[in-house]
Amino acid sequence: MTRIALTVNGASCEADVEPRQLLAYFLRDTLGLTGTNVGCDTTSCGACTVLLDGESVKSCTVFAVQADDCAVTTVEGIADGDELHPVQQAFHEQHALQCGYCTPGFLMATISLLKENPDPSEDEIRHALEGNLCRCTGYHNIVLAVQAAARAGA
């Protein structure tokens, strides 16, 4: 076991982990943060996307030991109390989800995108979200939501 110390959603945490434990499972099974979903387990679908030091990563392809000393943000950490994060609000208002399984990953990928590019074109949005798969909505409303979030200054 390896001792790691990191910040998750602003709170410090320490844990002993097996080196082979993937960050997605550490978040879900050890910390109980089950908002981060595991979809494909093959670095394809993006459902497990979280922010690692502010950048989107697929937590099924990062070992928990690699997050030692880092700051992790999951979907549980983006709202301000009862107030949704502007990206969450935009997904809600634009009906950018149906079953919702991919949504946490899309939210985190969108937050990362808008941090790097606050005013993306539709083409840039579609390219930036290539790593997230949605099998319900067909992406149209997701793109509208990202545009709405960008307008809201998310």
Binding site: R20, L22, T42, S56, V57, K58, V62, A109
Partner: protein, 269 residues
């Protein structure tokens, strides 16, 4: 999918990584992990020790080295995409990096990891071969420079010795360059990729996924040097290649695609 158990050690320096690699015959380096971790999850790779070099931030840089641009091996794809020196002197690296995987992958994956992995479907490996890059490696006996032409030894095999760490990639400043690839779906590896660049007045062309390693299309280069048109030069694309047949396409299809892409790349130079 859970990888097989392994020991983990984080290296605080390249020298420490070299020494750790010497402590275990089945040790592997971990950089961004985006080639290795997927293989470990499938248990195609089962290293007994992972030596994590992912925190060696002094190996993340792009510098003007005069005739060449020096790129630190741990520079992430996302950094390559937005680097101003590359945009000015070797834009095909930035453009190819923008097409690797997806945004999340580009936040983690590194140029050195991608090259050292030795995957014949790697876009950046083809580009460094095409540009006659110099690959700098450090091992127990110090540092050496490996020409890209001698680096790719076979499928997932490179000239790196067991204890060597790739530290820097030196690429020439190019007058013009282009990287084209065809992938079946977003995020896919290239079914076929083509790099073409004008280096010191010569046109150099390389191929992705047309054999067990990245390949140079020497016959095409000779035809261009002899004054052939893009279409006539591209007719030599498949010479000496061994395109694989797999779910993404037959060898015959790959040979066709490569010829089309080589012609387009030459026309764009």
């Amino acid at each position: 999918m859970i990888p097989a158990a392994f020991e983990y050690a984080r290296a605080g320096s390249v020298d420490e990584a070299v020494s750790l690699l010497g402590s275990d015959e089945d040790a592997k380096l971990l950089a961004g992990g985006h080639s290795l971790i997927p293989l470990m999850r499938l248990r195609f790779a089962r290293p007994s020790l992972l030596v994590d070099i992912g925190r060696l931030d002094d190996l993340r840089y792009v510098r003007d080295g005069g005739e060449r641009i020096a790129i630190g091996a741990l520079t992430r794809h996302a950094q390559l995409v937005r680097d101003p020196l590359l945009a000015q002197h070797c834009a095909l690296i930035a453009e190819a990096a923008a097409g690797i995987g997806d945004a999340q992958v580009r936040h983690r994956g590194t140029i050195g990891g991608s090259i050292a992995h030795g995957d014949p479907a790697s876009d950046l490996a083809t580009i460094v071969l095409t540009l006659d890059a110099e690959l700098v490696a450090r091992g127990p006996d110090g540092e050496r420079t490996i020409p890209a032409a001698e680096f790719f030894a076979g499928m997932f095999e490179t000239a790196l010795a067991r204890q060597e760490v790739l530290t820097e990639i030196r690429v020439p400043k190019v007058a013009a360059g282009v990287y084209l690839k065809v992938e079946r779906r977003a995020q896919d590896w290239a079914t076929v990729g083509v790099a073409a660049a004008r280096v010191d007045g010569h046109v150099q062309v390389g191929l992705t996924s047309m054999g067990p390693t990245p390949l140079r299309a020497r016959s095409v280069e000779e035809a261009v040097a002899g004054g052939a048109s893009p279409a006539d030069a591209a007719a030599h694309t498949a010479d000496g290649t061994m395109p694989p047949s797999d779910v993404n396409g037959s060898g015959e299809y790959r040979a066709h695609l490569a010829q089309v892409l080589v012609q387009r790349a030459l026309e764009q130079l």
